[in-house]
């Protein structure tokens, strides 16, 4: 079995986001970038399945600028076998990413495609479902447990009411939740080894698909600031304020 894992390079989750003064976006220059957190879970799960002997090869793919290959190298360092960087400039919307991944799937013919449930930059939560749609594959989103069985996956999904279990035929798409596993850290020797693993570069313009944005970003602004609060001197005062001033208890 072959698993394709899609990863995205995003601003690190510990970085304080700053909005550009001209309203054109957020500041990304000289800002620490990392792999989108649930994409780490997707890579980890693929590696675990390979370690269990149920998968033979893991391919990590990303779409973005040249530097996005760092996320692929990181996936290689924790166990992916080879990588693909699809170079595409500027904003690539989830629909366009799904179309790009469709081309990669057609070429690589994986049995499974894993990715994080959502990227923590644009918070769209679309790419996996869109890829499943255009491939006409089943989708298992928000996965917190994956059992690989004969020709099917049994996937436990995190839904608002609790947990839902579905069975999807392979080939299928799984989007991973943070609770799926504990992503491992790459060891230094493995980071060194990853540098020698193959990483293919493809230019998105060669794929013959329209990836122009369909959504115009008119402006990006800071969320409204909370007005300054007060310090209370005692628990008694706090409870009185909550009862009589804020009227929330």
């Amino acid at each position: 079995m072959k698993i394709l894992v899609a990863v995205k390079r995003v601003i690190d989750y510990n970085v304080q986001i700053r909005v550009k003064e001209d309203g054109s976006g957020v500041v990304t220059d000289n800002v620490k970038m990392s792999t989108n957190p649930p994409d780490d879970n997707a890579v980890e799960e693929a590696v675990k399945i390979k370690e269990s002997g149920k998968a033979k090869e893991i391919i990590a793919v990303t779409v973005g600028e040249e530097k996005a290959q760092e996320t692929v190298r990181k996936a290689l360092a924790v166990g992916a076998d080879r990588g693909i960087l699809v170079k595409a400039p500027g904003t690539i919307e989830p629909l366009a990413v799904a179309k790009i991944l469709q081309k990669i799937v057609e070429k690589e013919k994986p049995d499974l495609v894993f990715m994080g449930k959502q990227a923590i930059d644009d918070d769209c939560n679309q790419t996996g479902q869109m890829l499943a749609a255009i491939l006409n594959w089943p989708q298992a989103t928000f996965a917190s447990k994956i059992d690989v069985k004969e020709n099917v996956l049994e996937v436990t999904r995190e839904v608002d009411e609790g947990l839902e279990t579905i069975e999807v035929k392979i080939p299928s798409i799984v989007t991973c939740d943070l609770r799926l596993n504990e992503p491992r850290y790459a060891s230094l020797p493995n980071i060194m080894k990853a540098k020698k693993k193959p990483l293919e570069q493809i230019d998105a313009s060669e794929l013959g698909i329209d990836i122009k944005p369909r959504i115009e970003q008119i402006k990006v602004e800071e969320p409204p600031k909370r007005k300054a609060g007060i310090k209370v001197s005692s628990v008694e005062e706090l409870v009185q304020k909550l009862k009589n001033e804020a009227k929330v208890i």
Binding site: I11, L95, D123, T127, A133, I134, I166, K219, K243, I249
Partner: protein, 317 residues
């Protein structure tokens, strides 16, 4: 121009977030139709026909729609889609799972999780877990939009008298099978929808100490949250995690106990209506977003807090 809203329900009752989504949808255009896909879901279709703002209910009923399977819902919705300018639903796990599948097959770039309708094609949505707001304009002919339910008031459940028409079902998917659903049985409200949330951080020092929080949660009928630090330390399971990589909550009252206020946590709770911070470090960043800050040792403050709550004659539920 008309809007088609996909209802979420359990075949008996409409899920509350659908009512919030109806409010947003009717702000896009007042010719709002609601699609109910289910099994023996007549009561759902009927109750939606009575919701103010709903002009028509389309009801598609078949045994195959007992559970949500996006692969089964999608063809039904695509069949209806040609009559509509907008397809919308709530941005909870139901809508997040379903809508992109529809959007991709309509070749539409979806607008996710809107918090404000600016015009029929322009919306406000949070990005970076609410650390920035983006105003976006969809240029696609047909628009697929998901709505953050907590940003809109629920539509009144009476005052409407929409006609109910039957719609056609389509063939079920052979590739996806529902196995089971385990609903979390808890007397406590869900973290995502609770009116009050009380969360503990690393300052709790142990899982055992979370009982101080549980006691107050019981008293206030609150959900229990936690910071990533508390989850990583193993004090509590990660389904309680509030923050950028956990759940985003918008309760009327959020009480942060022993939480320093890391960026990633603030992203998950700073839209709450009233925020209380209890922390012994007066410089903790959590105080910068708190309406009421109490600089105190939580091990003194929490028992006292419970004591004071017990003195109150009434507590809102």
């Amino acid at each position: 121009m008309s809007v088609l809203l996909i209802a979420e329900h359990n075949n008996k009752e409409v899920k509350p977030f659908t009512l919030n989504a109806i409010t947003a949808a009717s702000q896009i255009n007042d010719d709002l139709h609601v699609l109910v896909i289910g099994k023996n879901a007549d009561p759902v279709a009927k109750s939606l026909s009575e919701v103010a703002n709903v002009k028509k209910v389309i009801h598609v009923d078949n045994d195959i729609y007992e559970n949500y399977i996006a692969e089964n819902y999608t063809p039904v919705i695509l069949k209806q889609a040609e009559n509509y300018s907008h397809i919308v639903c709530s941005a909870n796990t139901f809508g997040k799972n379903l809508m992109p599948r529809i959007a991709a097959l309509l070749d539409t770039s979806q607008v996710s999780d809107i918090i404000k309708v600016i015009s029929e094609d322009t919306f406000l949505r949070p990005i970076y877990a609410g650390n920035a707001f983006a105003t976006v304009k969809s240029t696609d002919k047909k628009k697929c939009v998901t709505i953050r339910p907590t940003s809109f008031d629920p539509a009144p459940t009476s005052g409407g008298s929409a006609e109910i028409v039957k719609g056609e079902n389509t063939d079920p998917s052979q590739n996806t099978k529902f196995v089971k659903k385990e609903e979390i049985k808890s007397d406590r409200p869900e973290l995502g929808t609770a009116r009050i949330v009380i969360s503990g951080g690393r300052g709790m020092q142990s899982g055992e100490n979370f009982k101080l929080i549980t006691a107050i949660a019981d008293k206030l009928n609150a959900a229990i949250g936690a910071s990533r630090a508390a989850v990583d330390a193993g004090y509590i399971t990660n389904d309680h995690q509030v923050g950028q990589t956990g759940k985003v909550v918008v309760p009327d009252l959020y009480i942060a106990v022993g939480i320093s206020g890391a960026i990633q946590h603030l992203a998950g709770m700073k839209e709450s209506k009233v925020i209380v911070a209890i922390n012994k470090d007066g410089e903790a960043p959590i105080f910068s977003v708190a309406d009421y800050g109490l600089e105190a040792d939580l091990f003194d403050a929490l028992p006292k807090f419970l004591e004071e709550l017990n003195k109150l004659n009434t507590i809102q539920k």
